[in-house]
Amino acid sequence: MFRATWKSLLARKVRLLLSGLAVVLGVMFVSGAFVLTDTLGRSFDAVFADGYSNIDVIVSAKPKVELSEAEGEQVAAPVPASVVDQVKAKVPAATDVTGLVNADGARLIGSNGKVVTSFGPPQLGENWVGENDLIQLRDGSREPRADDEIVINQALADAAKVKVGDRVGVLTLEPKKEFTIVGVFGYSGGRDSMGGVNEVVFTTPVAQRLMLGKPDTFSSVSVQAADGVSAERLRDDVSAALGAGYEVKTGEQAAADQAASLKEALSFFNKVLLGFAAVALLVGTFLILNTFSIIVAQRTRELALMRAIGASGRQIIGSVVLEAIAVGLIASVLGLAAGIGVGALLAYLFGKLAGGLSLAGLGVPPAAVIGAFGVGLVITVVAALLPALRASRIPPIAAMQDVATPDRPLTKVTVAGGIVTAIGATLLFLGLDGHAGDNTLATILGGVLFAFIGVALLTPLISRPVVSLLGALFSWSVPGKLGRLNSGRNPRRTAITAAALMVGIALVTGVTVILDSAKGSISKLAADTIKAELVISGAQSGPRPPSFDPAVLEQAAAIPGVQLVDGEYGDMGTVNGTRTWVAASSNVAALQRIFGAKATAGDISRLGPDQMLFSSDTAKSRNVSVGSQVTVQLSRGEARTYTVSGIYESSELTNPVLLPPQAAADFAIPQPIQGFVQLAPGAKVADVQPRVETLLADSPEVSVADRDAFIKQQTSQLDTPLRMIQILLALAIVIAVLGIINTLALSVLERTRELGLLRAIGLRRAQTMRMITVEAVVISIFGALLGVVVGTGLGAAVVRALKDEGITDLILPWGQMAVFLVLAAIIGVIAAVLPAVRAARINVLGAIAHD
């Protein structure tokens, strides 16, 4: 039995290769994701370990508001300068006690007048504490001595195209200030940056003022141990000397903690990649199922003969499953190898993008290997199980009969498809309607999966009418007609092939429907509500939103023709202990006059320094009403109690809570991040806009745009995730294309005699190729059509469910859908190339003699 299996495997290597390729791609995605995140994780470990390598113990204060990596850069609570003296006085084992300033948000303006941006790593502003093992000034440099002197790291100097001696502007907690660069530094081993971090180093008092906003404070204090004292002992000593209220960690521990928080973000990234891998594998499953079904159908006589000479049904199953295991194993090995390559490549690209993260050695974590083999084997075997069962039911008598596999009735599949689709729809309904509680995401995903499988099962039934309708488009020529007939010949095969394409296209369509609807709804709402002709804002590239000099607000208000100016500030704070996005407005009147908010209780037209406003939704969920006392903790400063003086009606554009402008001083970014300018009746945008633009000369992160441009810019932020999803799902579509090639190649093989006959009675080579191409195009357009319909359905369901979240309009991307159909036609043509060439090359005589 084993020999027979192996022989038949070899005989079908080309066919299995194609379906194996689908598994290879899926496995590649899985293992690549693990390799990538593992390599990056260890690289970050190394960076932090390096950064803390010369610190034995570090003292910091608990942050006022704790944030995860995804929520933004956390602001460390300041450590008073007195802690340095305290440690010096009370801990004999401490030798070198240094106060460190180290905070995100030092943005250097490059020689092109633009702020040097970063795509993730922070832009640190620090105090100069001298050279050490890690940090070394480069030639021609010296340390900063005067208030207007800075040193910067080499990578930042390169990115900004500046050098020692240049005057540059730096944005910090305060608006732009000018400095002279007196030095450029690098790191041990000749590195220009540490993990892509940009660093601007001031004198200590300047750093304290500009980065912490408070004199005589530090971000942290580093302590070195005297000879013979372990870091752990020193930590305990320092901790005992300072008492509670401070976090005292060894350098090693601090490095591990910081790396851990970054790795949390990485693991999220990993999950996203694995999600896409799952889609690719689902498509791959269809493909393998199809291949094995066809192979079993083609081997009917051979398998029947085996049964006739005494093989048991079990042995037949075994032989098919064995074949699947062999394919799965080979595919897993190849996929793992490819995944390691892809992971390494992505890590390299990521390192480049992050501004020169030096990568740790490439690692292949066990998860990558286990994932690769687990997924590759399981998927292949599961997909082959159904065909294997069918093979075992072939009666021995089939060996003697010269019948093509009879067209089995579709009733069973259709009923099963109906049931599975119904289950999918129910799960989707439960998930989207919010009945699933904590399992919402799982329920929705399960619903989508069931819906796909259900529709795939229903597809054979749908394929008959749709394919013959589609094919009618090509029936004007003989090859076209033959191609159409061929595509309708084997509804199951056509269906699974098309269903594989459906999955990718449905997901892309669904996501597009959702994002387009969101964009459209938000644009409409914004256009309907915002009554400001001009908006000051900037494009956000990293975790930190762009901000501008608050003085601009007053200056803009003084421009003739300007009626009202509002600057919006924002921060992640806690309100009564719960993390909340809090906003402050420079001009509370704008709430009604620019954003059209309506009061549901109290007075929202003014706000005293101890008063705050709530949106109606937040007020309800927090159980707050006018007159309530609320405790608010911001990124900086102490917690404060405010009295709720008014409540405004919630909309998608309103903030949860609004604080008086004075509160913004304690925000992580104490500068406005958006400005709204309302013009007096009769004033012209064209007159005012250039004058506001002039005011922004020293705030290069932002610019002023008219309202429509602003709305467009805001909604266009959704385009990036959409593109990324489309690119990732393209892989699923590529696999589906392999499926079409595979199906056609197998069909060509099966129909060798027919092709020979056609050629014998005068079908030209070009006509033969056209016939195959029409078959491919019909299948792929059918798949795309299914995908567009199913995707629109899924998208529309989600949009409906999000009605309360403000996605009120269902916007169908007709243009995109048309593009998908055209794309599908092109895909069909491409997929047909090889099988068509093969069909055209068939030796007429050989085909006729073929037995």
């Binding site: 003989v478 007939l485 061929n486 010949r489 027919e754 009675i761 005068g762 005589l845």
Partner: protein, 255 residues
């Protein structure tokens, strides 16, 4: 030995010192060894011979399905030898009809569509009067909408005959057209082929190893070991059988 040509007839197909070698070196097989033959227009010629004598090979070479190693083949005015694929395709499409032993029809098409397929491929319209004649002669009018799977073997073969006839090719080649049929269905097909020659002047070349089938032809050419060894005009089953027996013995002795 060279097959003679009736003076009144004009050649529809011709083979001139045709050699066909398969393989090379030790394993080389000479399937045809200098065959020269003419197939007159409007006649029904049978090619007989024991299995492996080169009948199919000769037919394939004549029909442009296979190339010859040496010699020339022509159909009507056209020299087949040396034609490229597109030339051969055009030749098959316009000048030649085929009936194979089995698997003659496309399973996806109805009988009617199968019959009209060569014409559709060539982009030609059937002559309606001729089409009706053919359909009535094969007696398939009530089966035209059926697919091959719904037809018996004999009916399928008659559809194949109709397909070959409807385009009025220069010559129809049939390779053991009755090989897979029972004797009654076989007789129907053979009668039909003979009638199309007698009544409509169609040229047919049929390969067979069945003396009864050969008896339907106007003339029989006998092949043995890749050479034409004998010929009969106006054969009967008995004369064919006799010739076969005679041929068998010397070959046996020669070995």
């Amino acid at each position: 030995m060279t097959a003679t040509v009736g003076p009144q007839a004009q050649a529809a197909a011709q083979a001139n010192d045709v050699w066909k070698l398969y393989g090379s070196g030790e394993a080389q097989v000479a399937a045809l060894r200098g065959v020269t033959a003419e197939f007159e227009r409007g006649r029904f010629t049978a090619i007989m011979g024991p299995s492996g004598s080169g009948k199919s090979t000769l037919m394939h070479c004549l029909a442009g399905l296979d190339s010859v190693t040496r010699g020339t083949v022509s159909i009507g005015e056209t020299t087949v030898t040396g034609l490229g694929d597109s030339g051969l395709t055009k030749l098959r499409r316009d000048k030649v009809g085929f009936i194979f032993q089995q698997f003659n029809l496309l399973p996806t098409l109805t009988a009617q569509e199968n019959i009209l397929l060569p014409l559709s491929i060539a982009g030609r319209k059937p002559d309606p009067a001729w089409y009706d004649t053919v359909i009535d002669t094969v007696g398939l009018r009530d089966r035209l909408k059926h697919r091959p799977a719904q037809l018996s073997g004999g009916q399928q073969q008659r559809v194949a005959c109709a397909r070959a006839l409807v385009a009025r090719p220069e010559v129809i080649f049939a390779d053991e057209p009755t090989g897979n049929l029972d004797s009654r269905s076989g007789a129907e097909v053979l009668n039909f082929l003979r009638n199309s020659v007698r009544e409509h002047g169609q040229t047919i070349v049929m390969v067979t190893h069945d003396p009864t089938a050969a008896a339907y032809a106007d003339r029989v050419i006998f092949l043995a070991d890749g050479q034409i060894v004998s010929e009969l005009v106006e054969p009967t089953a008995d004369t064919v059988l006799d010739t076969m027996k005679k041929l068998d013995t010397p070959t046996e002795v020669a070995r």
